[in-house]
Symmetry: C2
Subunit: 317 residues, 2 copies
C-alpha cells in the first residue's frame, strides 16, 4: 500500500491500518519514512503519558486501570509497552502477550508492544514513530510504559508530556530512589500496592527525598498519589494529577518552557540517530571493517571516526 | 601536561595521573582523545566485571566485598560506579561520596564515579574510556557498577567480560526478572541478602526462568550464587564463578566467539557516538536550527537528517 493511502486510512481510524503501520515501523520496512512524513500534519494532538518504575511495582496493572478510567471518559487510548530485550539474542520476551487482556476487545484501545533490538537510539526512535501513528489515528491519550530508569528509558520518556513513576512499598529507600535518577524525571509519583505494609514509610521517604532536590519556585511540584491498581483505588486521584500537570504545561510560562525543552531534547536524540543511520548505510563495508579494527584494538575510536568523517565527505553523491 | 607524558605517568602507576586523566575524559577536555590514543597499546590486559541489578539489591555493598577479596589475592583493582542522573538538571546525585569508603586509603584501589549528562552514547563512551585508563594504570580487575537493566545500562555493560546481576529476595518474580531483560545479560546471578526470608523462592524462580530461555548447548550455563554482602558470606563462591566464566571465555571456541561479538558491539556503539559528535560539531548552528524545527514539528526527522547529510558532504574541509 502507498504511504499516502495508508496514512489516509490511519487518519480515518482504521485499526488494521494502524497495525500495519506499526509493523512497518518496527521492522523498518521500505516506505516507513514516507508514511511518517505523511502523518506529520495529523500529529501533535494526543496527550502522551509516560509510566516507568522498577519491575514488580505493578506498572502494567496500573496502566490497565488508568486505561479503564480514560475509556470511561470516552477517550480513544493508545498504549505502547516498551520492554527491553537482550541485544545479544534479539529474542522477544514473555509476558507481552498476556498484557492488557482486559482491553482486548475494545476497538477504542490500541496496544502495541515494542522490543529493543539494541540499535543505537533505536528503541526511542521506534517509540516516537509508533506514538505518532497512534496520535494520527486519533488517540486522545497515549500511555507509554517502560521498565526502569536508566538512560535508555529516559530517552524513551522524552516522548511523554507527563511522566508517572510507580513505586511499591519496601522496594528501596529514598537514597535508592535518588540513585536511580527517578526523582528528577517524575511529574507524578504513584505509590502503588498502597494497601501493603510500608506504604506510609515509602511515601514519607519519597517526600523527604523530594524536599532535598533543589528546584526553582516556579517548577512543578511533583505530586504523590497512593494507588492500589488491582482494585482501582486511587486511580481517579492519579488521573486528576495527570490533568493538573497537563493544565500546568499548557497554561504557564514555565510549563511552556518545559515542553519546549523536552521537545528539543527528543528532537536532538532522534535526529542524531537518523543521521547516524544514513551515514552508516552509506559507509557500508568501510563501516563494518572499521568496527572490526576498533574491536580488535588496532584503531583508536576517535581516529577511526575522523577517517570515516573524511570518507563521508568524498563518498556517494 | 602533554598526552604522552600523562600516559607515561599512568603506565608508571601514578594515581594522581589516573585521577587527572579521568577528569579530562569526564569533562571531555582538550587532549583527552590524544591521551586515549596514547594509552591504547597498554590496554586489553585487565579483566572487566560488570555488576548490575535493581536499586536496593545491595550492589554497592557486594562490590565492596568483592574488591576486598580481590585485594586479598594481591590484585590491583579499579572501580567505575555509573549512576544515571537526570538529563534535565545535569546535577550530581547523593550517595557517590559515601561509597567505597572501606577502600579509601588503599593505594591499590582506584574508584571513579561517573554521571550521565544525557549525551547520546555519552555514558557508555566515558565508561569505556575510564576503563581504558584504569587498564593502562595496571589494574588486574576493573569492576563497573551500574543501576538497572535498561538499554543505557546494557550499553555500559558492553565493556564487561563477565556480567553479575544482583537480585534480592522479594524484589519481583521470575516473569518480572525476565521483563527487565536481565536473564540474557547475566553470566552469574548473585542472590544477595540471602539470609532474608524468600531467598529459596527467589533462587527457584530464577532457575525456572533460566530454564525457559532457549540456549545452544555450548553456551555458558549461567551460575547462581547466594551471597550476604554485609557479612561476606558467599563472596568466595562468587569469585570462583567469575574465574570459571573468565576461563571459559579464554579457552573455548564459543567463549572466544562471545568475546568477539561483544567487542564488535561495543566498537559499533562507540564509533557511532564519536562519528555523530564530529558531525554535530561541524554542522554547528545548522544542527541546532534543524533540532528546533524538528521539535516544532515543522520538519520530519528523516527529511531533516537527509538535508544534514548533504550539508556534511559540502561542508568543512
Amino acid at each position: 500500500m502507498e504511504a499516502a493511502e495508508l496514512a489516509a486510512r490511519i487518519r480515518a481510524g482504521e485499526r488494521v491500518a494502524v497495525a500495519l503501520a506499526c509493523r512497518k515501523i518496527d521492522e523498518r520496512r521500505p516506505g516507513h519514512r514516507e508514511l511518517l512524513a505523511a502523518l506529520l500534519p495529523s500529529t501533535g494532538r494526543a496527550r502522551v503519558i509516560g509510566v516507568t518504575g522498577s519491575p514488580g511495582a505493578g506498572k502494567s496493572t496500573l496502566v490497565t486501570a488508568l486505561v479503564e478510567k480514560l475509556r470511561g471518559r470516552g477517550e480513544r487510548v493508545g498504549v505502547v509497552a516498551v520492554d527491553p530485550t537482550s541485544p545479544f539474542s534479539g529474542g522477544a520476551l514473555l509476558g507481552d502477550r498476556i498484557r492488557m487482556q482486559r482491553h482486548g476487545g475494545d476497538p477504542e484501545v490500541f496496544v502495541r508492544s515494542l522490543a529493543s533490538r539494541g540499535a543505537l537510539g533505536g528503541l526511542s526512535e521506534t517509540t516516537f514513530d509508533v506514538v505518532r501513528v497512534l496520535d494520527a489515528w486519533g488517540a486522545n491519550t497515549i500511555v507509554v510504559e517502560t521498565v526502569g530508569a536508566g538512560q535508555g528509558e529516559v530517552d524513551v520518556l522524552g516522548v511523554a508530556d507527563t511522566v508517572i513513576v510507580v513505586i511499591a512499598p519496601g522496594m528501596g529507600d529514598d537514597v535508592q530512589a535518588n540513585k536511580a535518577g527517578i526523582l528528577e524525571i517524575a511529574d507524578v509519583f504513584a505509590v502503588n500496592k498502597a494497601d501493603r505494609p510500608g506504604a506510609d514509610a515509602a511515601e514519607h521517604a519519597l517526600r523527604a527525598a523530594l524536599d532535598l532536590v533543589p528546584r526553582a519556585p516556579e517548577r512543578y511540584r511533583t505530586a504523590i498519589v497512593r494507588t492500589v491498581a488491582t482494585t482501582g483505588e486511587g486511580v481517579d486521584a492519579l488521573l486528576a494529577q495527570l490533568d493538573a500537570h497537563g493544565a500546568w504545561l499548557a497554561s504557564t510560562p514555565t510549563g511552556a518552557a518545559v515542553r519546549r525543552k523536552r521537545a528539543r531534547r527528543a528532537a536532538h536524540t532522534r535526529l542524531g540517530a537518523a543521521l547516524l543511520e544514513l551515514c552508516i548505510g552509506e559507509l557500508g563495508a568501510q563501516w563494518s571493517e572499521t568496527v572490526e579494527r576498533v574491536a580488535a584494538r588496532e584503531l583508536d575510536v576517535a581516529e577511526a571516526a575522523a577517517a570515516l568523517r573524511e570518507a563521508l565527505r568524498a563518498g556517494g553523491g
